[in-house]
Symmetry: C2
Subunit: 281 residues, 2 copies
């Protein structure tokens, strides 16, 4: 797992390099009384890979910094990291390991796309349709059920413990000409607001797909679903691209509008529901 040199040596890429970092801290992003260390490792790496998915990229490799108190079950944490690295074809090429008072894992992923094609948050235009790659709120519902004592293998609980990065969806969206994209890490509502802020548009939502077992509040503000929100000027092209790639059809949420202060769901103003723990500025 750990490199023998001061830095890992990997092949360069001639296209665009996508670089992202994501930290998961015990007690902030995960409750280790409810989830295990393999879930923690899986989530840390998958959340970072999801950022590459949200640009329409493919992961190349990652480096992992692991901070742990003495006596942490490192083998379980590493097992989750390695499972995710295999699942997302994102080999761990290096990292650092240190003692710390609390468990924290930081993952930096280098990804790639063809030059000039990465999908930003800022490209949505009035009139673009808004889609999401799947129902949301499943992770929040799973956490609620875990707290109530549910089995780790219940479908909703698995959505919380083993979140998926939507790499195929992100690449199909990019190739079909998506104008903007973001992953639902902190909540559908807040992440939609962020996309709209970056694009200087408003939005009108008609429908929010609620995951089985979740309620509407969890769907709007739950976070950690890692589905992708996609803005697209040609909805049919997006649907065709998903069908050709064998992916679930994207679900239409509504559309972007010119008035950037109009941010509604079923005609009512939509608050910025979700987590702000990332303190983004």
């Amino acid at each position: 797992l750990w490199i023998g040199d001061d830095a890992a040596i990997v092949h360069g890429t001639t296209g665009e390099l996508l670089v992202t970092a994501d930290a998961v801290v015990a007690g902030v992003h995960a409750d280790l009384a409810l989830s295990r260390l393999d879930n923690f490792g899986w989530k840390a790496l998958s959340a970072a890979v999801s950022d590459i998915a949200a640009m329409g990229g493919r992961p190349l490799h990652c480096v992992v910094t692991v901070l742990v108190p003495p006596d942490t079950r490192l083998e379980l944490l590493f097992a989750g990291l390695i499972d995710a690295a295999v699942a997302w074809a994102c080999p761990i090429v290096g990292g650092d390991l240190s003692n710390a008072p609390e468990i924290a894992v930081s993952v930096t992923v280098n990804g790639a796309t063809d030059a000039g094609t990465a999908v930003r948050r800022s490209g949505a235009r009035p009139g673009d349709s808004l889609f999401v790659t799947g129902p949301v709120g499943g992770s929040a519902a799973g956490l609620r059920l875990l707290r109530a004592g549910a089995d780790r293998n219940a479908a909703e609980v698995r959505a919380h413990l083993w979140p998926l990065a939507r790499l195929g969806e992100g690449q199909a969206a990019r190739q079909s000409g998506a104008s903007a994209m973001i992953d639902v890490s902190d909540g559908l509502s807040i992440d939609l607001h962020r996309l709209a802020d970056a694009s200087s548009v408003g939005f009108e939502l008609d429908e929010v797909p609620v995951a089985p077992g979740a309620d509407l509040e969890e769907a709007l503000g739950g976070g950690e679903d890692y589905e992708l929100v996609i803005a697209h000027g040609d909805p049919e092209a997006l649907r065709r691209a998903f069908e050709q790639a064998g992916l679930r059809p994207p679900i239409r949420l509504g559309q972007c509008v010119e008035d950037l202060n109009e941010r509604t769901f079923e005609g009512q103003p939509l608050a910025r529901l979700g987590f702000e723990h990332r303190l983004e500025t």
Copy 2:
């Protein structure tokens, strides 16, 4: 400082990509009762850049994960990070910021060299000369003086608070054909042992240059000097390359020998003095 997209978009590189991660944790790697948050940020970024220097590479950019308790003076921490990013021409292109019970900063640096030219730890051969780019023990001496109440501006204390990455030295060593290289992050002795382990050689040291104000123990085991240890089959070529680049002459330590169990300083066995906090395997 922080990116607006899920990932930063940067130019790719056709040569070799060097990837390294380094974490600095308050209470483990730095005592914030003695050093300030700008020193903490400077050290975190500089230590990671030093890993690129130790491969003979140049930094391209970095991403920074900052974990802090509420009420941390982020502007001071960021000032140190930004000063180091400017000093090493290593722009911060992204990162993550989260709450945590203790301050920890993790920096991932992407660097580059021409394909096939990165200098590993493992290339030293019996008969190669061993050099270090400067006297060592200055950081440990500075920490000792700080604990005794010395002024922050004393030269030895500055070596501890504002360590330098030896980028020019690393590149000159690579271009002149260095066979192996490592940076002195955990102690000259332990880092020499690591280079020798990776290269399957022993070593005989004749001389260890002790930094002003430091003692021999600090020079051998102090760590955090970030000078480079260089193995080279052609000492004159190395000296010429340093002279042509306007660098201080490299200081000869001794030579590599075939018997990998022979690890001596002035004829006596040299213990693995230094920090093991990185838990490298």
